[in-house]
Subunit: 333 residues, 2 copies
C-alpha cells in the first residue's frame, strides 16, 4: 500500500540500508548516490513509518501532555505553546484532559509512558510521591508546579505577587484581601507565600479570605468575605475567580474600582473583554509551554546532560480598569 524504504531502494537501485542512511545520516553516503536516493524518495512520496522506526529505535516521536481541564481558559494557551514547539522539533503531542481527577492522572501516566518519549504534566493534582513514581516511568517535566528533583517550569510567583502588592500600595491600599484557590494546590501555596512576603516588605496588611474553588462561582462566593473583611483591594487566585467576584460585587452594588479594587492572575483572554477590564498579573503561558518542551527535548537529545531544575518565568502586571485609588484610608474624595 504505502511506499516503503524498499520501494525507494529498488527504484534507486540501491539497498534499503543505503536509503535509510541517506535519510538519517546523509554525510556517510556518497554524494551522487545520496542525491539520487533523495530524489527518488521525494518523487515516490516516501514517508518513514513511525511505528517501524519507533520499534527499532525505541523512540516514538511523541510527547504526552496531561492537564486537568482544557475548558479552563488558562490551559489552551499553554497547549498552544507546547504544541507548536513540539511540532518544530518534529514531535507530536498527545493531549489528555483528566477532568480534574487527580487519580486519573496516575493511570494516564502509566498508560502513556510506553507510547511517548516524555511527558509534560501541567498543574498536576497528584501527590508528590505519585509524581516521583511518574518520573520514573518516563522523562517528565512539570509546568506550574515544583517537586523534588523533577525539572519544572513555572511563573515567578514571588516576583508577581510583589508587583501586585506594590501596585496596590502605590494606590494607597493598606488592607488587601486575598481570595485563595484550593488549599492543596501548589499555586495557591506559592501565591499565599508570595503575597505574605510582599505585604510584609511593602508594609501593608494582608487579609486572607479563605479558600475557594478556582472557578467563576468560587470567586462569586468570596464576595461576602470581601465586604466583611473591610478591605479596599482584593487579589484573586486567578482571573476566572476575579470575574466571579466582579459579578457578585456588582450585584451587591459595590462599584469597582471606586469602592474596591480587584486584581486577577493569569491574564486569560477574556480578562480584557469584560467591563471593567480586569487588572491582572500576566503569566507567560505560551512561553511556559514552549520552555517545557525545550527542557524535555533537550533531555531526550542527551539524557546525561544536566537539566535546569526549576525555571521561573517573569510575570507582568497589566493595569487595566479594576484597580484605582483606595477610598477609605486617608484620602477623602
Amino acid at each position: 500500500m504505502a511506499v516503503t524504504i524498499r520501494d525507494v531502494a529498488r527504484v534507486a537501485g540501491v539497498s534499503a540500508s543505503t536509503v535509510s542512511r541517506a535519510l538519517s545520516s546523509p554525510e556517510i553516503v556518497d554524494a551522487v548516490t545520496l542525491e539520487r536516493v533523495l530524489r527518488v524518495a521525494d518523487h515516490l512520496g516516501y514517508r518513514p513509518n513511525r511505528a517501524a522506526q519507533g520499534l527499532i529505535t525505541g523512540r516514538t516521536g511523541n510527547l504526552g501532555l496531561i492537564l486537568p481541564d482544557l475548558a479552563n481558559p488558562f490551559f489552551p494557551s499553554v497547549v498552544k505553546g507546547i504544541q507548536s514547539q513540539a511540532h518544530a522539533g518534529d514531535y507530536q503531542v498527545f493531549v489528555m484532559d483528566t477532568d480534574e481527577d487527580a487519580s486519573a492522572e496516575v493511570g494516564l501516566v502509566r498508560s502513556l509512558a510506553k507510547q511517548v518519549d516524555g511527558i509534560i504534566l501541567c498543574s498536576p493534582r497528584m501527590k508528590p510521591a505519585e509524581l516521583r513514581d511518574a518520573a520514573r516511568l518516563a522523562p517528565v517535566v512539570l509546568v506550574n508546579r515544583r517537586a523534588g528533583s523533577i525539572p519544572s517550569v513555572s511563573a515567578d510567583n514571588a516576583q508577581g505577587m510583589l508587583l501586585i502588592v506594590e501596585h496596590l500600595a502605590g494606590l494607597g491600599h493598606q488592607r488587601i484581601g486575598f481570595v485563595a484557590g484550593p488549599r492543596q494546590s501548589w499555586s495557591t501555596k506559592e501565591r499565599v507565600r508570595g503575597l505574605r512576603a510582599a505585604a510584609e516588605r511593602v508594609d501593608v496588611q494582608l487579609v486572607e479570605l479563605g479558600n475557594f474553588a478556582p472557578t467563576f462561582e468560587g470567586g462569586a462566593e468570596a464576595a461576602e468575605g470581601v465586604l466583611i473583611g473591610a478591605v479596599t483591594a482584593v487579589v484573586a487566585h486567578n482571573d476566572l475567580m476575579a470575574m466571579g467576584l466582579l459579578g457578585a460585587l456588582r450585584e451587591r452594588g459595590i462599584a469597582v474600582p471606586r469602592d474596591v479594587s480587584v486584581v486577577g492572575i493569569d491574564n486569560i483572554q477574556t480578562s480584557a473583554m469584560v467591563h471593567p477590564a480586569l487588572t491582572t498579573l500576566a503569566i507567560p503561558k505560551e512561553q511556559a509551554g514552549r520552555r517545557s518542551v525545550d527542557l524535555l527535548l533537550q533531555h531526550l537529545a542527551d539524557p546525561s546532560a544536566p537539566i535546569p531544575l526549576t525555571t521561573e518565568l517573569p510575570t507582568e502586571l497589566l493595569v487595566r480598569q479594576t484597580t484605582g485609588p483606595a477610598t477609605h484610608p486617608k484620602e477623602p474624595r
Copy 2:
C-alpha cells in the same frame, strides 16, 4: 528494559503466540491457560508495545485532530469531547493547532496521515478540493463544515437561526442586524442562509452588516454599522464578536438591551460571565466532538459499513440579559 510478550510467555510457560491470543482473542485459548497468562501479564505489568502492534496490524491507535486555534474558546470544548470519547475507545488524540493557517492544514494532514487511523478536521479552512484530497489520505470526519461525501458533524444552523429570529420577533424586533464572520467561512454562509430563511418565514427584516474577523475586535468594529443600520437587535456570528460589540456599544453610550438587543452564537464559557450576561445560541460542542469520534471509530471498525454523511445537532437558545423588548417600532416606553 520493558517487559515484552516473550517475558510473559516465558514466565507463564507458554509461547508468545499464546500470550498474544490470550490478550486479543481470549475466547480461543484454554480457560486455565488464559487465567495463568493473564495473571502473569498483570503481575509483570505487561503493556503491549503500540509501535510493534501498529507495525503488524497497520493500526496506530491514534486519531489526529486539526483545528485552527485552540485559543478560540469554542474549540477546547470540542477537544474535550473528542478526547474523552477517543480515550474511552482506547485511542489517543494528536492535537494540532494551525494558527488559522489554511495552507498549514494541508501539510499537517499529509504528515499526520500515516501516523493515525483517522483524522478529525474541526472547522477546516482549506478548499473543497483540498478536503477531497485529504479524505483520500486517511479516514476523515469534519466538524463544523460540510463538504461533498465526507462524513460531518455540525450544528443545525437553520434551526438555530430560526430560534434566534423567533425569540427576537417575539420581543417586537422588526429590523434585525447580522454581524457576519469571514466571507469564506462555511459557518458564515450557513448562518446567513439560515437567518435569511428565518427572517422571511417570521416576516422580519434582516440587515446584513458586513463581514468581520471572528474575534472580539471584529465584533467591536461592527458597532458603527449597527448604529447606522438602525436596527433594534443584532445577531453576531459568535460570542467573541458579540462581546466585542457589547464593549463598543457601551463606549458609545448605547445601553443593552434597552437600546439594542444582542445575541451571540456558541455559548462559550465566558458568555455567561460578562455583564450583562449574553443571550446566545448554544452549540453542543462537546457532543459534536464525541459524535465525530463515534463516526470515525465506527468507520474504522467496519470500513465497508455506510456512515451517516451529515449529522446535525440541535442547538438551544439561552436567553440571558442582552435581549429585551424592542424600543423603536411601536411600543413607546
